[in-house]
């Protein structure tokens, strides 16, 4: 059986556009609101990444750090992430959700228990920021057994030889980090250069869905239409921060943001 993630990519391919993938943080600004936000995003996004916030996020820039700290301050616990996904899937049965975060949280929860709860709540995929290949081999295998997509990350520093090995061991979706930097960095390299690199990697195994993330905003997204999927995160976290400052409902504001993003890649 094809995974929800694979089906989402296939639908987008039929429509000749990249999948729009959003990233927001569980319990940002609180548990109830973050569920409402997911539902808003689901109207236009194809795949939803839900971050489980960590206190020491070494791969994240300012916007996602702010969202993470806000969520932890508001009492986030790991079980909340699963409850949010479970409630979401009740109404949005076919919309794939990917959990994303740092390994210590999975490690403390217990890899096996984590995967059982992923399965129970309807999580389709996992991205673990600081569990690179080959250290992730055992965990990735466990994911595969549970039919959960373990998304491998590729970076501008990843050598070609290493790329091949990672892609060989990967599931149906891989994630290319566009530039040297943390999430939300400015694109230091032109979209053209990024796509050149993207195409080289895509040729290693054209069947695998390869998405681009880091530095994708409303002003850069239209340059990457040829990719299988595009991840927008920091822009959304920033929108939540700004909405809270202006005392407007972030879920309403994000609905407009995600609509605009979608319009630019159709």
């Amino acid at each position: 059986m094809k995974s929800e993630i694979q089906l989402a990519f296939e639908n987008c391919k039929k429509e000749k556009r990249p999948a729009l993938i959003t990233y927001t943080v569980a319990s940002d600004p609180n548990k109830k609101k973050s569920l409402e936000i997911l539902k808003s995003l689901a109207k236009y996004a194809d795949i939803l990444e839900l971050g489980f916030p960590h206190s020491t996020p070494i791969g994240d820039g300012g916007q996602i750090q702010t969202s993470s700290h806000r969520a932890i301050k508001n009492g986030f616990k790991m079980k909340d992430a699963f409850q949010i996904v479970k409630s979401f899937k009740k109404t949005e049965k076919n919309k794939p959700v990917i959990l994303m975060g740092y390994y210590n949280m999975i490690f403390q929860y217990g890899e096996n228990k984590f995967l059982i709860d992923c399965k129970k709540s309807g999580v389709s995929g996992i991205i673990c920021v600081d569990l690179p290949w080959p250290e992730n081999k055992i965990f990735a295998k466990k994911c595969k057994k549970k039919s959960i997509v373990f998304v491998q990350l590729l970076a501008p520093t990843t050598t070609k030889e290493r790329m091949k090995k990672i892609i060989r061991d990967s599931d149906s979706m891989n994630y290319l980090i566009s530039i040297l930097g943390t999430t939300g960095s400015k694109l230091k390299v032109s979209p053209k250069k990024i796509l050149e690199n993207y195409n080289k990697i895509k040729r290693i195994n054209p069947k695998k869905n390869l998405v681009i993330g880091f530095g994708i905003t409303d002003s850069t997204i239209s340059s990457f239409k040829s990719a299988s999927g595009l991840v927008v995160g920091s822009l959304l976290c920033k929108t939540i921060t700004n909405s809270l400052k202006m005392r407007i409902n972030p879920a309403t504001k994000l609905l407009k943001t995600v609509y605009n993003l979608k319009k630019k890649i159709i």
Partner: protein, 413 residues
């Protein structure tokens, strides 16, 4: 399965294919972007540690710039006052950087030069690492960027002034608790974005495995000097020797103990003293003493202060240099193999130790080694006169003058 230390093999090389000590400490839990820089640095280190011209260059700097050996002195007055074991101090702070950090920093800067990198970045807590990198970087013509928590910038202002004097850029870190843990995170983020041009110096024996190894390898100079000095002083290694060292990240202790690992622990006891925090507070910076669970922090599996979910806990210590929730993977290994014994001293005990040592002796340890002195003061009266306690006095107190003055009402340099 119980863990074992292998004899005759440096601790830094006793790790497995996953770069883990004892199969559970260390490793490389890093974003994909850092895998290549880690590989490159590992290859460079393995090459240079066998390269005679590099070793000569290193030793020349250790001898002529750092000044080797740093003194080993007997603390007669303190010994008489406590009335028990003989107390000695290896005054590692007697170098131009006034702390042991100079060894790691020098090796990293020499490596950066060989790698053709012009920029170096680092984290700092007490500011000793930052100060040393600023100093050495300037000497070797490197551009230096230092990440430091805002709380630490305020409480260790003297060191910040020195960093700036040497032309380094000090970047205030305002996330989280605004102390060392946040400075290390921010520095790593900077490195993720600039790893093509910049060489990362991690300020202690923490972080991904290669930084632990380089740091311990560099600081081992302390131990090489000490073993010679002990043999000169006593004719041989005393039958009852105890080496006491404060533990934050744990770099000075690894340097201080390196040559003594293979001795029987009944002959050479290794005692690590963590920061117990204030007597009145529940917070501390002593993950080994207080039985913290294994977790991942800054790319490395280690005992770390955290909650049940895996969020890193807040720490508290009067000494900025020990105020870190984790601990070097190699210390975790030494703890589980029972080669070293770990305990903690409170803020109050450390201050009291500073007071006694600076009153009786002509040395002025910073608040970090004052934690090790506190343990010496606790145990010395109970020990026989042929027991030799040596404390690594790895930092000078000048940087703490403001805190000490505010707590004791005076400060003696």
């Amino acid at each position: 399965m119980s863990l074992r230390i292998k004899k005759g093999i440096p601790l830094i090389d006793q790790y497995d294919k996953n770069c883990m000590w004892g199969g559970k400490f260390g490793g490389n839990f890093v974003p994909e972007t850092l895998k290549k820089p880690i590989d490159d640095l590992t290859k460079l280190f393995e090459k240079l540690r066998k390269d005679k011209s590099f070793l000569k260059e290193r030793d020349d700097y250790f001898k002529n710039y750092v000044g080797s050996p740093t003194p080993l002195i007997r603390l007669d007055n303190l010994t008489d006052y406590l009335g028990g074991a003989q107390i000695w101090a290896k005054v590692v702070s007697e170098n131009p950087g006034t702390a042991h950090k100079v060894y790691n920093v020098l090796v990293h800067c020499l490596m950066a030069r060989r790698a053709g990198k012009k920029y170096v970045c680092t984290d700092t807590g007490a500011g000793m690492n930052g100060k040393n990198l600023a100093m050495v970087g300037k000497m070797l013509g490197l551009k230096v960027k230092i990440f430091m928590g805002l709380v630490d910038i305020k409480r260790q202002k003297k060191n910040v002034d020195v960093m700036k004097k040497y032309g380094a850029e000090v970047v205030p870190v305002t996330t989280g608790s605004q102390t060392l843990v946040d400075a290390v995170s921010e520095c790593m983020r900077y490195f993720v974005a600039n790893c093509d041009t910049t060489h990362l110096v991690v300020g202690s024996a923490v972080g991904p495995a290669i930084w632990i190894r380089i740091c311990a390898w560099s600081a081992a100079q302390i131990s090489r000097e000490l073993i010679v000095q002990i043999k000169e002083e006593f004719g041989k290694i005393p039958k009852k020797l105890k080496l006491l060292n404060c533990i934050g990240g744990g770099s000075s202790a690894l340097g201080f103990w390196n040559e003594f690992i293979d001795y029987d622990k009944k002959q050479v006891e290794l005692i690590g003293v963590e920061a117990g925090g204030s007597k009145k507070s529940k917070k501390h910076a002593a993950p080994l003493t207080n039985g913290s669970k294994i977790g991942i922090l800054h790319g490395s599996a280690q005992y770390v202060i955290q909650d049940a979910d895996g969020q890193i806990g807040e720490t508290e210590s009067i000494s900025a240099g020990l105020d870190y929730p984790g601990i070097s993977a190699i210390h975790c290994f030494l703890k589980d193999t029972k080669r070293a014994r770990y305990t903690s001293a409170t803020d109050e005990e450390a201050l009291n130790a500073y007071k006694l040592v600076s009153k009786f002796e002509n040395i002025s340890p910073s608040l970090e080694p004052s934690h090790a002195f506190a343990e010496a003061i606790r145990i010395a009266p109970k020990l026989s006169k042929d027991t030799v306690l040596i404390i690594n006095s790895c930092g000078h107190s000048l940087k703490d003058s403001i805190i000490i003055k505010s707590k004791l009402g005076y400060y003696t340099e």
